[in-house]
């Protein structure tokens, strides 16, 4: 994950945050497992098939969905295609540069993609127009507008919200426009380990302080759909079990709050 623009974390902030964590609180006054308030605006881009702007604290991401007809992959002739792409816009953060995707943006895109794909959120079987020849291809493009930590969760929220409002432009193929078939709702919860504490939804400073990061994406039935560990630190087995418990509980609360 990107560091502070100059790569130097302030000693004062570090001691303030770690001191607060010992009291079971966060640097910005949140509880250890609390998420920042998210605001989701769907249909933010009227010309897209589906779109959503998500603001999570000061982190702001915009997801757009485009659905086109095209050829399926030869090994999966009977299912549609889903591709996810994340762009770190230079205006979001001083260290973000324009150009081809880098390690960070690929990681975010793949974790978001995995959560959506493995939860079977989109029934790709229903995206077939003509088996082996023509299927619907769903592009999810996510742009990071402002960066203040926890891009993975913000991007998952945005991608899921955008897909939920997306429609298939079937009228172009002689059919009738229809909403994208959406089933499960994956919700990702990212945690970082600071000292021995696990905190949810890290902001920029906490992300810099954390020794290790773990993202767990769950669906309503409690199944784990995606997991990603980042940074150089380590988690013990008990901590991973605790993190999974946290993510399914917090994920359920988020799903209730934003997707019901």
């Amino acid at each position: 994950m990107p560091r502070d623009a100059l790569g130097v974390l302030s000693e004062i902030k570090r001691s303030f945050i770690t001191k607060q964590l010992k009291e079971g609180k966060r640097g910005d006054g949140r509880g250890v497992l609390d998420f920042r308030e998210a605001s989701i605006t769907t249909n933010y881009v009227p010309r897209a098939a589906g779109s959503a702007m998500v603001q999570l604290g000061k982190t702001r991401v915009l997801a757009g969905v485009k659905i086109e007809s095209g050829e399926p992959f030869p090994d999966t002739p009977n299912s549609g295609v889903l591709t996810t792409n994340v762009e770190l816009l230079p205006m979001a953060f001083p260290t973000f540069e324009a150009g081809p995707p880098n390690e960070t943006s690929i990681e975010i895109a793949r974790v978001v993609d995995r959560g959506i794909r493995e939860s079977k959120m989109i029934d790709t079987q229903k995206l077939v127009i003509e088996p082996g020849k023509k299927v619907w291809i769903v592009f999810v493009d996510i742009n990071i507008m402002d960066f203040d930590g926890n891009l993975i969760d913000a991007c998952t929220l945005a991608a899921v919200s955008a897909l939920r409002t997306a429609y298939i432009p079937a009228s172009k193929e002689g059919g009738k426009d229809m909403p994208l078939p959406v089933d499960q709702i994956p919700v990702s919860v990212t945690m970082v380990k600071i000292g021995d504490e696990i905190v949810c939804d890290p902001d920029l400073e906490e992300e810099q302080l954390g020794s290790a990061r773990l993202t767990v994406t769950t669906t309503e039935d409690g199944h784990i759909r995606a997991m990603q560990k980042g940074d150089s630190g380590s988690f013990t087995l008990d901590e991973i079990k605790k993190a999974i418990k946290i993510s399914s509980d917090t994920g359920a609360a988020l799903r209730k709050k934003y997707f019901s």
């Binding site: 100059l6 130097v8 974390l9 302030s10 000693e11 004062i12 902030k13 570090r14 001691s15 303030f16 001191k19 607060q20 009291e23 609180k25 640097g27 910005d28 006054g29």
Partner: protein
């Protein structure tokens, strides 16, 4: 919503009746005064200023700023003061008895100092000093930041705003001219003070902010 000050875009005409044009105003080819920033018009006795909504800190000699140590050299500390260039603090400009090569024990990477801009060159590269009353290494507390052009708003007329926040939240606050703010107190009070400062930052373009902040802080303290 409270009454807001007039917002201008770059190139917008500034009425000459407002007074002598000062910072952020230029004369276009027709001889008319225009704004060079996206910001608000600030009128005072000396003339009219454009206060931009955001931007980096432009150092001025004598300003007291808060800076973060980026590196430790043999005899200098490169310091980030949120300006276009990093500034330098030489070991001879500190109150400590330093010897070259052993300055790490006084200031390490990531430490903050409250320092004064000592010299400036034509392109605003600066050198800072710790040799003056009240200048020191900042220890404990917490740091928050706002865009440098909004610093006068946080301080208020004769320090009215910052003193009000200090009294209401029971904290010690040091405001650097470069937009970095150091706050010391109990963690709850510090978080209160940061919340108050962010309100001032977001509503810096409105009129009568001090009165509204007074009301806000009173309501908070009742709770």
């Amino acid at each position: 919503m409270a009454e807001i000050k007039q917002i201008v875009m770059p190139g917008d005409l500034i009425s000459e009746e407002l007074g002598k044009p000062r910072n952020g105003v230029y004369k276009n080819s027709d001889g008319k005064y225009c704004s060079s920033y996206f910001g608000i018009i600030q009128k005072n006795e000396q003339g009219v200023d454009i206060v931009p909504f955001s931007g980096r800190y432009v150092p001025r000699r004598g300003d007291k700023v808060i800076g973060k140590v980026l590196e430790v050299g043999p005899s200098m500390w490169p310091i980030d003061i949120n300006s276009t260039y990093n500034t330098l603090l030489h070991m001879n400009d500190t109150p400590w008895r330093t010897t070259s090569g052993d300055i790490k024990r006084f200031l390490g990477v990531g430490d903050y100092v409250y320092a004064k801009v000592m010299t400036l060159n034509e392109i605003k590269e600066s050198w800072i000093t710790l040799k003056d009353v009240g200048l020191r290494k900042l220890e404990g507390g917490h740091i928050t930041s706002i865009p440098a052009p909004k610093v006068p708003r946080i301080i208020g007329k004769g320090g009215s705003m910052v003193n009000m926040i200090k009294d209401a939240t029971n904290t010690r606050i040091v405001v650097g001219q470069n937009g970095l703010i150091w706050i010391d107190g109990t963690p709850e009070d510090v978080i209160e003070a940061i919340a108050a400062i962010s309100i001032v930052e977001q509503e810096a373009h409105t009129v009568g902010l001090t009165d509204r902040m007074e009301k806000y802080l009173k309501e908070r303290s009742v709770k």
